[in-house]
Protein backbone atom coordinates (compact mmCIF):
# COMPACT_ATOMS: atom_id res chain seq x y z
CA UNK A 1 0.00 0.00 0.00
CA UNK A 2 1.15 3.46 -0.73
CA UNK A 3 0.35 6.43 1.35
CA UNK A 4 -0.66 9.38 -0.75
CA UNK A 5 -0.24 12.50 1.26
CA UNK A 6 -3.40 14.12 0.02
CA UNK A 7 -4.19 17.25 1.97
CA UNK A 8 -7.44 18.06 3.66
CA UNK A 9 -9.46 20.77 1.96
CA UNK A 10 -12.43 22.80 3.02
CA UNK A 11 -15.50 22.51 0.86
CA UNK A 12 -16.67 25.66 -0.88
CA UNK A 13 -19.25 24.27 -3.28
CA UNK A 14 -22.98 24.72 -3.02
CA UNK A 15 -25.19 22.92 -0.55
CA UNK A 16 -28.66 22.06 -1.65
CA UNK A 17 -31.77 22.36 0.45
CA UNK A 18 -33.08 19.01 -0.74
CA UNK A 19 -34.83 17.01 1.97
CA UNK A 20 -32.62 14.44 3.68
CA UNK A 21 -34.73 11.45 2.75
CA UNK A 22 -34.12 11.89 -0.96
CA UNK A 23 -30.50 10.63 -1.02
CA UNK A 24 -31.57 7.87 1.30
CA UNK A 25 -34.21 6.79 -1.18
CA UNK A 26 -31.83 6.68 -4.15
CA UNK A 27 -29.16 4.93 -2.13
CA UNK A 28 -31.61 2.33 -0.90
CA UNK A 29 -32.75 1.59 -4.42
CA UNK A 30 -29.16 1.23 -5.47
CA UNK A 31 -28.36 -1.04 -2.58
CA UNK A 32 -31.35 -3.21 -3.28
CA UNK A 33 -30.46 -3.46 -6.92
CA UNK A 34 -26.92 -4.56 -6.08
CA UNK A 35 -28.27 -7.78 -4.58
CA UNK A 36 -28.13 -10.59 -7.09
CA UNK A 37 -31.42 -12.25 -6.21
CA UNK A 38 -33.32 -9.00 -6.17
CA UNK A 39 -32.03 -8.36 -9.67
CA UNK A 40 -32.95 -11.84 -10.86
CA UNK A 41 -36.49 -11.68 -9.55
CA UNK A 42 -37.02 -8.25 -11.02
CA UNK A 43 -35.74 -9.32 -14.42
CA UNK A 44 -37.91 -12.40 -14.41
CA UNK A 45 -40.89 -10.27 -13.55
CA UNK A 46 -40.16 -7.78 -16.32
CA UNK A 47 -39.59 -10.52 -18.88
CA UNK A 48 -42.85 -12.10 -17.82
CA UNK A 49 -44.59 -8.78 -18.40
CA UNK A 50 -43.03 -8.44 -21.79
CA UNK A 51 -44.09 -11.94 -22.72
CA UNK A 52 -47.65 -11.15 -21.74
CA UNK A 53 -47.56 -8.01 -23.91
CA UNK A 54 -46.65 -10.17 -26.84
CA UNK A 55 -49.45 -12.54 -25.90
CA UNK A 56 -51.94 -9.68 -25.76
CA UNK A 57 -50.84 -8.57 -29.20
CA UNK A 58 -51.18 -12.07 -30.58
CA UNK A 59 -54.61 -12.58 -29.08
CA UNK A 60 -56.02 -9.21 -30.07
CA UNK A 61 -54.57 -8.89 -33.53
CA UNK A 62 -54.09 -12.43 -34.71
CA UNK A 63 -57.15 -14.13 -33.16
CA UNK A 64 -59.58 -11.22 -32.60
CA UNK A 65 -62.43 -13.54 -31.70
CA UNK A 66 -60.54 -15.26 -28.84
CA UNK A 67 -62.81 -13.79 -26.24
CA UNK A 68 -65.97 -15.36 -27.52
CA UNK A 69 -64.15 -18.59 -28.16
CA UNK A 70 -62.97 -18.84 -24.58
CA UNK A 71 -66.35 -17.94 -23.21
CA UNK A 72 -67.94 -20.68 -25.22
CA UNK A 73 -65.36 -23.14 -23.91
CA UNK A 74 -66.11 -21.95 -20.40
CA UNK A 75 -69.85 -22.49 -20.82
CA UNK A 76 -69.22 -25.95 -22.18
CA UNK A 77 -67.12 -26.77 -19.14
CA UNK A 78 -70.04 -25.76 -16.98
CA UNK A 79 -68.67 -22.77 -15.08
CA UNK A 80 -71.06 -21.53 -12.41
CA UNK A 81 -70.31 -17.83 -12.49
CA UNK A 82 -71.10 -15.61 -15.34
CA UNK A 83 -67.76 -15.38 -17.06
CA UNK A 84 -66.41 -11.84 -17.06
CA UNK A 85 -63.05 -12.32 -18.59
CA UNK A 86 -61.34 -8.97 -18.67
CA UNK A 87 -61.24 -7.83 -15.11
CA UNK A 88 -60.77 -11.40 -13.89
CA UNK A 89 -57.77 -11.89 -16.13
CA UNK A 90 -56.15 -8.88 -14.61
CA UNK A 91 -56.83 -10.10 -11.09
CA UNK A 92 -55.30 -13.41 -12.02
CA UNK A 93 -52.33 -11.56 -13.51
CA UNK A 94 -51.98 -9.45 -10.41
CA UNK A 95 -51.78 -12.51 -8.21
CA UNK A 96 -49.24 -13.99 -10.53
CA UNK A 97 -47.06 -11.00 -9.82
CA UNK A 98 -47.80 -10.58 -6.15
CA UNK A 99 -47.04 -14.06 -4.84
CA UNK A 100 -43.88 -15.05 -6.70
CA UNK A 101 -42.46 -11.53 -6.99
CA UNK A 102 -43.70 -9.29 -4.22
CA UNK A 103 -43.20 -11.66 -1.30
CA UNK A 104 -39.67 -12.86 -2.14
CA UNK A 105 -38.68 -9.30 -2.94
CA UNK A 106 -40.06 -8.12 0.36
CA UNK A 107 -37.91 -10.73 2.09
CA UNK A 108 -34.71 -10.10 0.17
CA UNK A 109 -35.04 -6.36 -0.06
CA UNK A 110 -36.46 -5.99 3.41
CA UNK A 111 -33.28 -7.41 4.87
CA UNK A 112 -31.42 -4.50 3.35
CA UNK A 113 -33.71 -1.96 4.84
CA UNK A 114 -33.07 -1.96 8.53
CA UNK A 115 -31.45 -5.24 9.56
CA UNK A 116 -28.28 -4.38 7.74
CA UNK A 117 -28.22 -0.90 9.20
CA UNK A 118 -28.59 -2.32 12.67
CA UNK A 119 -25.90 -4.91 12.08
CA UNK A 120 -23.35 -2.39 10.85
CA UNK A 121 -24.50 0.25 13.29
CA UNK A 122 -25.26 2.57 10.38
CA UNK A 123 -28.07 4.22 12.30
CA UNK A 124 -25.44 5.88 14.44
CA UNK A 125 -23.78 7.28 11.33
CA UNK A 126 -27.14 8.52 10.03
CA UNK A 127 -28.57 10.11 13.11
CA UNK A 128 -25.45 12.15 13.83
CA UNK A 129 -26.33 13.89 10.57
CA UNK A 130 -29.21 16.16 9.66
CA UNK A 131 -31.79 13.41 9.39
CA UNK A 132 -34.58 12.58 11.78
CA UNK A 133 -35.99 9.11 12.45
CA UNK A 134 -39.15 10.07 10.58
CA UNK A 135 -37.35 11.12 7.41
CA UNK A 136 -35.10 8.09 7.64
CA UNK A 137 -38.14 5.86 7.72
CA UNK A 138 -39.76 7.81 4.92
CA UNK A 139 -36.74 7.42 2.65
CA UNK A 140 -36.40 3.73 3.31
CA UNK A 141 -40.09 2.94 2.99
CA UNK A 142 -40.55 4.99 -0.16
CA UNK A 143 -37.62 3.21 -1.75
CA UNK A 144 -39.02 -0.15 -0.78
CA UNK A 145 -42.48 0.65 -2.03
CA UNK A 146 -41.12 2.19 -5.20
CA UNK A 147 -39.04 -0.85 -5.92
CA UNK A 148 -41.85 -3.29 -5.28
CA UNK A 149 -44.12 -1.25 -7.53
CA UNK A 150 -41.53 -1.07 -10.28
CA UNK A 151 -41.15 -4.82 -10.21
CA UNK A 152 -44.86 -5.59 -10.16
CA UNK A 153 -46.88 -2.61 -11.29
CA UNK A 154 -44.47 -1.84 -14.13
CA UNK A 155 -44.99 -5.07 -16.06
CA UNK A 156 -48.71 -5.05 -15.31
CA UNK A 157 -49.19 -1.61 -16.77
CA UNK A 158 -47.13 -2.70 -19.74
CA UNK A 159 -49.54 -5.55 -20.34
CA UNK A 160 -52.50 -3.26 -19.91
CA UNK A 161 -51.11 -0.76 -22.41
CA UNK A 162 -50.42 -3.51 -24.90
CA UNK A 163 -53.91 -4.85 -24.42
CA UNK A 164 -55.43 -1.41 -24.82
CA UNK A 165 -53.38 -0.52 -27.87
CA UNK A 166 -54.08 -3.71 -29.73
CA UNK A 167 -57.72 -4.36 -28.92
CA UNK A 168 -60.78 -2.64 -30.37
CA UNK A 169 -62.17 0.57 -28.89
CA UNK A 170 -65.12 -0.77 -26.89
CA UNK A 171 -62.85 -3.13 -25.03
CA UNK A 172 -61.37 -0.06 -23.35
CA UNK A 173 -64.60 0.43 -21.42
CA UNK A 174 -64.18 -2.95 -19.85
CA UNK A 175 -60.59 -2.49 -18.74
CA UNK A 176 -60.61 1.24 -18.01
CA UNK A 177 -60.71 0.86 -14.25
CA UNK A 178 -57.91 -1.70 -14.17
CA UNK A 179 -54.81 0.56 -13.89
CA UNK A 180 -56.21 2.52 -10.98
CA UNK A 181 -57.24 -0.66 -9.25
CA UNK A 182 -53.94 -2.46 -9.54
CA UNK A 183 -52.01 0.66 -8.57
CA UNK A 184 -54.04 1.13 -5.43
CA UNK A 185 -53.95 -2.54 -4.48
CA UNK A 186 -50.25 -2.94 -5.01
CA UNK A 187 -49.38 0.34 -3.25
CA UNK A 188 -51.43 -0.59 -0.24
CA UNK A 189 -49.91 -4.05 0.03
CA UNK A 190 -46.40 -2.77 -0.57
CA UNK A 191 -46.66 -0.11 2.14
CA UNK A 192 -48.00 -2.57 4.70
CA UNK A 193 -45.39 -5.16 3.80
CA UNK A 194 -42.57 -2.63 3.96
CA UNK A 195 -43.57 -1.41 7.38
CA UNK A 196 -44.12 -4.93 8.61
CA UNK A 197 -40.76 -6.29 7.48
CA UNK A 198 -38.96 -3.32 8.95
CA UNK A 199 -40.78 -3.60 12.25
CA UNK A 200 -39.88 -7.27 12.55
CA UNK A 201 -36.24 -6.52 11.87
CA UNK A 202 -36.16 -3.74 14.45
CA UNK A 203 -37.52 -6.18 16.99
CA UNK A 204 -35.24 -9.10 16.20
CA UNK A 205 -32.13 -7.08 15.30
CA UNK A 206 -30.94 -9.89 13.06
CA UNK A 207 -31.40 -10.58 9.39
CA UNK A 208 -31.76 -14.33 9.67
CA UNK A 209 -34.33 -14.19 12.43
CA UNK A 210 -36.27 -11.56 10.49
CA UNK A 211 -36.50 -13.75 7.42
CA UNK A 212 -37.40 -16.77 9.49
CA UNK A 213 -40.15 -14.97 11.36
CA UNK A 214 -41.48 -13.51 8.14
CA UNK A 215 -41.77 -16.95 6.59
CA UNK A 216 -43.27 -18.39 9.75
CA UNK A 217 -45.90 -15.69 9.99
CA UNK A 218 -46.95 -16.25 6.41
CA UNK A 219 -46.98 -20.03 6.64
CA UNK A 220 -48.64 -20.30 10.00
CA UNK A 221 -50.98 -17.43 9.44
CA UNK A 222 -52.44 -19.41 6.57
CA UNK A 223 -52.48 -22.66 8.52
CA UNK A 224 -54.11 -21.08 11.56
CA UNK A 225 -56.63 -19.31 9.41
CA UNK A 226 -57.80 -22.50 7.76
CA UNK A 227 -57.92 -24.34 11.09
CA UNK A 228 -60.01 -21.58 12.58
CA UNK A 229 -62.25 -21.45 9.59
CA UNK A 230 -62.81 -25.18 9.94
CA UNK A 231 -63.52 -24.84 13.61
CA UNK A 232 -65.90 -21.94 13.51
CA UNK A 233 -67.24 -21.80 9.98
CA UNK A 234 -66.69 -18.07 10.23
CA UNK A 235 -65.12 -16.70 7.07
CA UNK A 236 -63.74 -13.62 8.80
CA UNK A 237 -61.29 -15.90 10.59
CA UNK A 238 -59.44 -16.16 7.30
CA UNK A 239 -58.23 -12.58 7.75
CA UNK A 240 -55.50 -14.00 10.02
CA UNK A 241 -53.76 -15.23 6.91
CA UNK A 242 -51.74 -12.53 5.21
CA UNK A 243 -51.71 -14.39 1.92
CA UNK A 244 -55.46 -14.49 1.93
CA UNK A 245 -55.63 -10.83 2.83
CA UNK A 246 -53.38 -9.89 -0.05
CA UNK A 247 -55.73 -11.63 -2.43
CA UNK A 248 -58.85 -10.08 -0.96
CA UNK A 249 -57.33 -6.62 -1.05
CA UNK A 250 -56.44 -6.99 -4.72
CA UNK A 251 -59.78 -8.48 -5.65
CA UNK A 252 -61.81 -5.96 -3.71
CA UNK A 253 -60.05 -2.91 -5.02
CA UNK A 254 -60.40 -4.21 -8.56
CA UNK A 255 -64.04 -4.96 -7.83
CA UNK A 256 -63.58 -8.56 -8.87
CA UNK A 257 -64.17 -10.30 -5.56
CA UNK A 258 -65.45 -13.79 -6.39
CA UNK A 259 -68.88 -14.54 -5.09
CA UNK A 260 -67.82 -17.71 -3.39
CA UNK A 261 -68.31 -17.76 0.36
CA UNK A 262 -64.82 -18.54 1.60
CA UNK A 263 -63.41 -15.05 1.60
CA UNK A 264 -63.35 -12.82 4.62
CA UNK A 265 -65.29 -9.61 4.58
CA UNK A 266 -63.19 -6.93 2.86
CA UNK A 267 -63.88 -4.52 5.71
CA UNK A 268 -62.30 -6.93 8.21
CA UNK A 269 -59.40 -7.58 5.87
CA UNK A 270 -58.69 -3.90 5.44
CA UNK A 271 -58.90 -3.33 9.17
CA UNK A 272 -56.44 -6.15 9.84
CA UNK A 273 -54.01 -4.97 7.18
CA UNK A 274 -54.18 -1.34 8.26
CA UNK A 275 -53.76 -2.47 11.85
CA UNK A 276 -50.61 -4.37 10.95
CA UNK A 277 -49.33 -1.29 9.15
CA UNK A 278 -50.06 1.08 11.99
CA UNK A 279 -48.66 -1.16 14.73
CA UNK A 280 -45.53 -1.73 12.64
CA UNK A 281 -45.16 1.99 12.14
CA UNK A 282 -45.39 2.62 15.86
CA UNK A 283 -42.85 -0.09 16.67
CA UNK A 284 -40.52 1.37 14.06
CA UNK A 285 -40.74 4.92 15.27
CA UNK A 286 -40.13 3.84 18.83
CA UNK A 287 -37.16 1.67 17.89
CA UNK A 288 -35.62 4.34 15.70
CA UNK A 289 -36.05 7.08 18.27
CA UNK A 290 -34.20 4.94 20.73
CA UNK A 291 -31.47 4.34 18.17
CA UNK A 292 -31.10 8.03 17.50
CA UNK A 293 -29.69 8.46 21.00
CA UNK A 294 -26.06 8.09 20.15
CA UNK A 295 -23.24 6.74 22.25
Amino acid sequence: MAFRAAEYERYTGPRSKRPAWWPLLTATLQRGWSSRWVRRITWISLIQGFGLCVLAYVLNDVVPTWRELTERVGEMAGAEDEIKLDGRVYLWLLNMFVYPVLLPLALLFGYDLISKDLETNATEAYFARPITPASYLLGRTLAFVGFLLAATLGPMLMVWLADYATSEAEHFQEIAKVPLGITLALSFIAVVLALFVQAVSVLTKSGTWTNLIFVVIFLFGSAMASILYNMTDNVDMLSISLLHNVFVVCAYIMDELPKRQDYADPGVVFTVMSGIGIVSFMILMRGLRRRSMLG
Binding site: T208, L212, A223, M224, I227, L228, M231, T232, N234
Partner: protein
Protein backbone atom coordinates in the same frame (compact mmCIF):
# COMPACT_ATOMS: atom_id res chain seq x y z
CA UNK B 1 -21.41 -32.76 38.40
CA UNK B 2 -21.14 -29.51 40.28
CA UNK B 3 -20.18 -27.87 36.99
CA UNK B 4 -23.24 -29.20 35.18
CA UNK B 5 -25.62 -27.99 37.87
CA UNK B 6 -24.05 -24.54 37.99
CA UNK B 7 -24.31 -24.05 34.26
CA UNK B 8 -27.83 -25.45 34.23
CA UNK B 9 -28.83 -22.81 36.75
CA UNK B 10 -27.08 -20.19 34.64
CA UNK B 11 -28.78 -21.19 31.40
CA UNK B 12 -32.17 -21.32 33.08
CA UNK B 13 -31.57 -17.87 34.55
CA UNK B 14 -30.52 -16.51 31.18
CA UNK B 15 -33.63 -17.76 29.44
CA UNK B 16 -36.15 -16.91 32.10
CA UNK B 17 -34.98 -13.57 33.41
CA UNK B 18 -36.42 -10.33 32.14
CA UNK B 19 -38.48 -10.40 28.99
CA UNK B 20 -36.66 -13.34 27.46
CA UNK B 21 -39.54 -15.72 28.15
CA UNK B 22 -41.93 -13.45 26.30
CA UNK B 23 -41.23 -14.73 22.79
CA UNK B 24 -41.62 -18.44 23.61
CA UNK B 25 -44.67 -17.67 25.73
CA UNK B 26 -46.21 -15.70 22.89
CA UNK B 27 -45.72 -18.68 20.60
CA UNK B 28 -47.01 -21.04 23.26
CA UNK B 29 -50.17 -19.02 23.73
CA UNK B 30 -51.09 -19.10 20.05
CA UNK B 31 -53.14 -22.30 20.43
CA UNK B 32 -55.04 -20.54 23.19
CA UNK B 33 -55.79 -17.70 20.82
CA UNK B 34 -56.98 -20.15 18.21
CA UNK B 35 -59.16 -21.82 20.79
CA UNK B 36 -60.52 -18.54 22.09
CA UNK B 37 -61.57 -17.50 18.62
CA UNK B 38 -62.91 -20.97 17.97
CA UNK B 39 -64.99 -21.01 21.15
CA UNK B 40 -66.26 -17.49 20.67
CA UNK B 41 -67.29 -17.73 17.05
CA UNK B 42 -67.82 -21.46 16.61
CA UNK B 43 -71.21 -23.12 16.83
CA UNK B 44 -71.91 -26.01 19.13
CA UNK B 45 -68.36 -26.76 20.14
CA UNK B 46 -67.36 -29.99 21.77
CA UNK B 47 -64.31 -28.85 23.72
CA UNK B 48 -62.63 -32.21 24.17
CA UNK B 49 -62.97 -33.00 20.52
CA UNK B 50 -61.77 -29.53 19.65
CA UNK B 51 -58.77 -29.93 21.87
CA UNK B 52 -57.84 -33.29 20.42
CA UNK B 53 -58.56 -32.50 16.83
CA UNK B 54 -57.00 -29.07 16.58
CA UNK B 55 -54.92 -28.09 19.58
CA UNK B 56 -52.82 -31.23 19.85
CA UNK B 57 -51.65 -30.97 16.24
CA UNK B 58 -51.12 -27.20 16.47
CA UNK B 59 -48.97 -27.73 19.54
CA UNK B 60 -46.92 -30.38 17.80
CA UNK B 61 -46.65 -28.63 14.44
CA UNK B 62 -46.02 -25.17 15.66
CA UNK B 63 -45.42 -24.70 19.36
CA UNK B 64 -42.93 -27.51 19.72
CA UNK B 65 -40.41 -26.65 17.00
CA UNK B 66 -40.53 -22.91 17.48
CA UNK B 67 -40.47 -22.79 21.25
CA UNK B 68 -37.56 -25.21 21.19
CA UNK B 69 -35.72 -23.11 18.64
CA UNK B 70 -36.43 -19.81 20.36
CA UNK B 71 -35.18 -21.11 23.68
CA UNK B 72 -32.38 -23.50 22.79
CA UNK B 73 -30.65 -21.67 19.96
CA UNK B 74 -29.76 -18.47 21.81
CA UNK B 75 -28.45 -20.50 24.73
CA UNK B 76 -25.45 -21.52 22.71
CA UNK B 77 -25.36 -19.05 19.89
CA UNK B 78 -25.03 -16.05 22.17
CA UNK B 79 -22.05 -17.68 23.80
CA UNK B 80 -20.36 -18.94 20.68
CA UNK B 81 -20.85 -15.95 18.40
CA UNK B 82 -19.05 -13.59 20.75
CA UNK B 83 -16.48 -16.09 21.98
CA UNK B 84 -17.97 -15.93 25.46
CA UNK B 85 -18.10 -19.71 25.60
CA UNK B 86 -14.35 -19.41 26.23
CA UNK B 87 -15.12 -18.45 29.80
CA UNK B 88 -16.67 -21.88 30.31
CA UNK B 89 -14.14 -23.81 28.29
CA UNK B 90 -11.14 -22.39 30.14
CA UNK B 91 -12.18 -23.85 33.45
CA UNK B 92 -10.82 -27.01 35.01
CA UNK B 93 -13.81 -29.11 33.97
CA UNK B 94 -14.20 -31.14 30.78
CA UNK B 95 -16.13 -29.38 28.05
CA UNK B 96 -19.09 -31.71 28.00
CA UNK B 97 -20.07 -30.55 31.48
CA UNK B 98 -20.92 -26.95 30.63
CA UNK B 99 -22.52 -28.15 27.40
CA UNK B 100 -24.76 -30.57 29.23
CA UNK B 101 -25.56 -27.82 31.71
CA UNK B 102 -26.58 -25.45 28.92
CA UNK B 103 -28.72 -28.15 27.38
CA UNK B 104 -30.50 -28.97 30.61
CA UNK B 105 -30.98 -25.32 31.52
CA UNK B 106 -32.41 -24.51 28.11
CA UNK B 107 -34.68 -27.53 28.26
CA UNK B 108 -35.96 -26.53 31.70
CA UNK B 109 -36.70 -23.08 30.31
CA UNK B 110 -38.96 -24.55 27.63
CA UNK B 111 -41.15 -26.16 30.28
CA UNK B 112 -43.01 -23.01 31.38
CA UNK B 113 -43.84 -22.30 27.75
CA UNK B 114 -45.13 -25.84 27.23
CA UNK B 115 -47.12 -25.67 30.42
CA UNK B 116 -48.76 -22.51 29.17
CA UNK B 117 -49.38 -24.07 25.77
CA UNK B 118 -51.07 -27.08 27.33
CA UNK B 119 -52.84 -25.74 30.39
CA UNK B 120 -54.34 -22.46 29.24
CA UNK B 121 -56.41 -23.98 26.43
CA UNK B 122 -57.37 -26.91 28.65
CA UNK B 123 -58.59 -24.56 31.35
CA UNK B 124 -60.59 -22.64 28.77
CA UNK B 125 -62.12 -25.83 27.43
CA UNK B 126 -62.97 -27.18 30.83
CA UNK B 127 -64.67 -23.96 31.77
CA UNK B 128 -66.97 -24.39 28.81
CA UNK B 129 -67.35 -28.14 29.20
CA UNK B 130 -69.83 -28.25 32.04
CA UNK B 131 -71.10 -31.77 32.53
CA UNK B 132 -74.55 -32.34 33.93
CA UNK B 133 -74.04 -34.74 36.83
CA UNK B 134 -71.05 -35.42 39.01
CA UNK B 135 -70.42 -38.92 37.77
CA UNK B 136 -69.74 -37.96 34.19
CA UNK B 137 -67.91 -34.99 35.62
CA UNK B 138 -65.28 -37.12 37.36
CA UNK B 139 -65.06 -39.30 34.33
CA UNK B 140 -64.59 -36.33 32.09
CA UNK B 141 -61.97 -34.82 34.37
CA UNK B 142 -60.01 -38.02 34.14
CA UNK B 143 -60.12 -37.95 30.38
CA UNK B 144 -59.06 -34.33 30.39
CA UNK B 145 -56.21 -35.03 32.78
CA UNK B 146 -55.01 -37.82 30.53
CA UNK B 147 -55.17 -35.74 27.38
CA UNK B 148 -53.48 -32.68 28.88
CA UNK B 149 -50.86 -34.68 30.74
CA UNK B 150 -50.19 -36.73 27.65
CA UNK B 151 -49.69 -33.71 25.46
CA UNK B 152 -47.41 -32.11 28.01
CA UNK B 153 -45.39 -35.30 28.25
CA UNK B 154 -45.00 -35.49 24.48
CA UNK B 155 -43.92 -31.87 24.23
CA UNK B 156 -41.39 -32.15 27.03
CA UNK B 157 -39.88 -35.39 25.76
CA UNK B 158 -39.83 -34.14 22.20
CA UNK B 159 -38.08 -30.94 23.18
CA UNK B 160 -35.33 -33.07 24.74
CA UNK B 161 -34.62 -34.58 21.34
CA UNK B 162 -35.16 -31.43 19.30
CA UNK B 163 -33.28 -29.35 21.86
CA UNK B 164 -30.32 -31.70 21.60
CA UNK B 165 -30.41 -31.20 17.83
CA UNK B 166 -30.43 -27.42 18.29
CA UNK B 167 -27.50 -27.72 20.66
CA UNK B 168 -25.60 -29.79 18.14
CA UNK B 169 -26.16 -27.23 15.40
CA UNK B 170 -25.21 -24.44 17.77
CA UNK B 171 -21.86 -26.05 18.53
CA UNK B 172 -21.16 -27.36 15.10
CA UNK B 173 -22.35 -24.66 12.72
CA UNK B 174 -22.06 -20.92 12.42
CA UNK B 175 -25.59 -20.69 11.03
CA UNK B 176 -27.54 -22.77 13.51
CA UNK B 177 -30.85 -21.02 12.81
CA UNK B 178 -31.01 -22.25 9.25
CA UNK B 179 -29.97 -25.77 10.15
CA UNK B 180 -32.37 -25.97 13.03
CA UNK B 181 -35.21 -24.62 10.93
CA UNK B 182 -34.44 -27.28 8.40
CA UNK B 183 -34.18 -30.07 10.96
CA UNK B 184 -37.07 -29.14 13.21
CA UNK B 185 -39.51 -27.79 10.74
CA UNK B 186 -38.84 -29.20 7.32
CA UNK B 187 -37.48 -32.59 8.34
CA UNK B 188 -39.55 -32.82 11.48
CA UNK B 189 -42.94 -31.25 10.87
CA UNK B 190 -43.36 -31.19 7.11
CA UNK B 191 -41.65 -34.46 6.29
CA UNK B 192 -43.29 -36.19 9.23
CA UNK B 193 -46.73 -35.12 8.04
CA UNK B 194 -46.40 -36.44 4.51
CA UNK B 195 -48.42 -39.55 3.88
CA UNK B 196 -46.53 -42.68 3.00
CA UNK B 197 -43.72 -44.76 4.40
CA UNK B 198 -41.18 -41.92 4.17
CA UNK B 199 -42.53 -40.34 7.31
CA UNK B 200 -40.96 -43.12 9.35
CA UNK B 201 -37.65 -41.35 8.90
CA UNK B 202 -38.88 -38.17 10.48
CA UNK B 203 -38.79 -37.64 14.22
CA UNK B 204 -42.32 -36.28 14.14
CA UNK B 205 -43.67 -39.69 13.20
CA UNK B 206 -42.72 -40.92 16.66
CA UNK B 207 -44.20 -37.88 18.33
CA UNK B 208 -47.49 -38.61 16.65
CA UNK B 209 -47.14 -42.15 17.89
CA UNK B 210 -46.81 -40.95 21.46
CA UNK B 211 -49.62 -38.43 21.05
CA UNK B 212 -51.98 -41.10 19.76
CA UNK B 213 -51.38 -43.27 22.79
CA UNK B 214 -51.21 -40.64 25.46
CA UNK B 215 -53.76 -38.12 24.30
CA UNK B 216 -56.31 -40.77 23.44
CA UNK B 217 -56.42 -40.11 19.75
CA UNK B 218 -57.09 -43.64 18.74
CA UNK B 219 -58.45 -43.39 15.23
CA UNK B 220 -56.00 -43.67 12.40
CA UNK B 221 -56.90 -40.31 10.93
CA UNK B 222 -57.94 -37.64 13.38
CA UNK B 223 -58.06 -34.02 12.53
CA UNK B 224 -54.71 -33.07 11.17
CA UNK B 225 -52.87 -36.25 12.05
CA UNK B 226 -51.34 -37.97 9.06
CA UNK B 227 -52.90 -41.28 8.12
CA UNK B 228 -50.73 -44.14 9.37
CA UNK B 229 -51.60 -47.79 9.07
CA UNK B 230 -49.37 -49.01 11.88
CA UNK B 231 -48.60 -46.22 14.34
CA UNK B 232 -45.41 -46.82 16.34
CA UNK B 233 -45.79 -48.13 19.86
CA UNK B 234 -44.84 -46.05 22.86
CA UNK B 235 -41.67 -48.05 23.37
CA UNK B 236 -40.50 -47.59 19.80
CA UNK B 237 -41.32 -43.88 19.95
CA UNK B 238 -39.40 -43.39 23.16
CA UNK B 239 -36.46 -45.29 21.74
CA UNK B 240 -36.52 -43.09 18.65
CA UNK B 241 -36.51 -39.88 20.67
CA UNK B 242 -33.88 -41.16 23.06
CA UNK B 243 -31.63 -42.24 20.23
CA UNK B 244 -31.79 -38.87 18.51
CA UNK B 245 -31.12 -37.07 21.79
CA UNK B 246 -28.18 -39.24 22.78
CA UNK B 247 -26.55 -39.13 19.37
CA UNK B 248 -26.99 -35.35 19.13
CA UNK B 249 -25.51 -34.79 22.57
CA UNK B 250 -22.54 -37.04 21.89
CA UNK B 251 -21.89 -35.35 18.56
CA UNK B 252 -22.21 -31.95 20.21
CA UNK B 253 -19.66 -32.90 22.85
CA UNK B 254 -17.35 -34.17 20.14
CA UNK B 255 -17.84 -31.01 18.05
CA UNK B 256 -17.13 -28.82 21.06
CA UNK B 257 -13.72 -30.42 21.39
CA UNK B 258 -12.99 -29.96 17.72
CA UNK B 259 -14.35 -26.52 17.02
CA UNK B 260 -12.12 -23.54 17.69
CA UNK B 261 -13.59 -20.72 19.68
CA UNK B 262 -14.05 -17.69 17.43
Amino acid sequence: MNGVMTVTAFAWRQRVRGLRLLAPLAIALLPSLVLLLGLTFGHNPDPLNLYRRFLVPVSLYFVLPFVTMFVMLPVLQELYSKGAIGYFFTRPVPRWQPLLGLFLGGWLATIPAFLAAVLVPAAMCMAVDQAADTETMTNLTEVWMQTVGGLFGVLVLASLAYGALCLLFGVWSKKPILWSFFALFIWGVLFGTLPGDGQMWSLHYYLFGLAREWCGITEIWTGMFPPVENPPTVFVSLMGLGLVMTVSLLLAAFAARQRDIL
